[in-house]
Symmetry: C2
Subunit: 315 residues, 2 copies
Amino acid sequence: MDVARAFFQNDRRALARALTWVESGLPQGEELLKAARGRGRARVVGLTGSPGSGKSTLADRLIGAVRERGETVAVLAVDPSSPFTGGAILGDRIRMMRHHKDEGVFIRSMASRGSLGGLAGATVAALALLEAFGFDWIFVETVGVGQSEVDIARVADTTVLVLTPAAGDAVQAFKAGVMEIADLIVVNKFDLPGGDRIVQELRATLEFAPPRPAGWQVPVLTTVAQTGEGTEELLKAIEAHHRHLEEHGLLEPHRLERARFEIASVIQQLGQEGVQQSQEVVEQVADGELSPRQAAARLVARALDLAEQGGEGGA
Amino acid sequence: MDVARAFFQNDRRALARALTWVESGLPQGEELLKAARGRGRARVVGLTGSPGSGKSTLADRLIGAVRERGETVAVLAVDPSSPFTGGAILGDRIRMMRHHKDEGVFIRSMASRGSLGGLAGATVAALALLEAFGFDWIFVETVGVGQSEVDIARVADTTVLVLTPAAGDAVQAFKAGVMEIADLIVVNKFDLPGGDRIVQELRATLEFAPPRPAGWQVPVLTTVAQTGEGTEELLKAIEAHHRHLEEHGLLEPHRLERARFEIASVIQQLGQEGVQQSQEVVEQVADGELSPRQAAARLVARALDLAEQGGEGGA
């Protein structure tokens, strides 16, 4: 089939194929992306939090709430590429599958293949495809702690941090600096002991947080994803944040930040590839015969030569 | 003073100055690095673990044990650059200060300024300086969770993961994939309840871990840094790992990996700078007029041109 044509005719199989292209870094993906970019207008929501916080169940509830409004949603679940932890995480995903026959819902798992551990550039490219396909909402869910969270705040319009009343959860988030990037904080599993206390702690802590763009006040919400309690309020809070961004002209900066992130990812990849392939240059740096900067110049020049030989749009 | 000359005459003030040059990316630092690189032979030990695990106190004990052997040690404490958490972390550092008048001990705090959140290339450059200065040991301590840990495993010969009996500590480490990069695991604060249980859990978990180079078996040790209990055993285990690397020819790959890391950091930095400075190119990518790959090629080529105009060794 002509995938590009089918894609623009809203064929879901074409979307799936195009996502695979983009994920594998194939030139066809880049071609399609070029045509797709700038189309559509989705609300991009990042869902982040420690493992076991119930993010997937919460995402499932949010999907339900969005669908009740008659709007469509794509979920991008970003897995860390560790083979050691992969199994448990994929198990979580299955809970979202009750929506998988719904035409208004599209769920995709992607490996987080950023060579330096964070969100891969391909994830952002996938966002552009999903947006062009016409989804009203895109949820990006990350697993684990660390760089992916920081990256998600760069690419999402709204970042939701999911915590639980579990001892130390808030402290960990605080110390890891994740609280600084959350636009909304949700205490999920609020029916567990300690719920009220953690909400109070979070609100107290937020008073010392740096101010947010255009005076946004980070709300602390509570949910019980298992029963659905608090889902509607959470979705309304996300919408309120989106309106805030809109009213203060803050959506465009997010769109540009996504492009920045993609470009930076490509550069990083060029560097990693060059460094892996050129044992000789690496040895010269280790021995002090070449400075890292001189080595970088050589490797990038070489990568650019290769890219040009393969054609401007090539891999 | 002639800093370079003083540096090679083992002047500690010259070392401090040179580290500042390197940290600030000044051309003098690059000059000195070129002369220094390849000199010295230190054992580079990464100490990593969640906040509150007692890493700093443990580092303090290890310094003591190393000094008792008559060997010298430099400590590089890498702070995440968050202004929100900075205060608490610097407080931890002070505990190590009882060694600060000892000529055989050099302690330096560095901001983790990797533009993508991980360990900065400057940190690795600092390692090369400390090694050339002649220290027998270099401890690199990272604060927080995430990318810095993964990076440290790339640059350190031996990576020590510090955990506590606290509920969830091991589970978090497991899920974040940090356990995969540890050469040694230490349960610190072993006098707290649950110590035996976590040791058992860790050993059971390690049976499912991917095999390590040359059949290294990751040991689980226990310490009480407050009293010094277990310090000597820990240092011996670190030495055993170093011997293992030596006997199997695995030290050289670590040295090359450090050079790789530095080169990749420079490329990444050039890219980030380009992306921040070129609004026009970013907009073209966001609008689909330019692919991220084309944009990356343009920005890096431009950055390298600028660098060359400023001289080969320039900033």
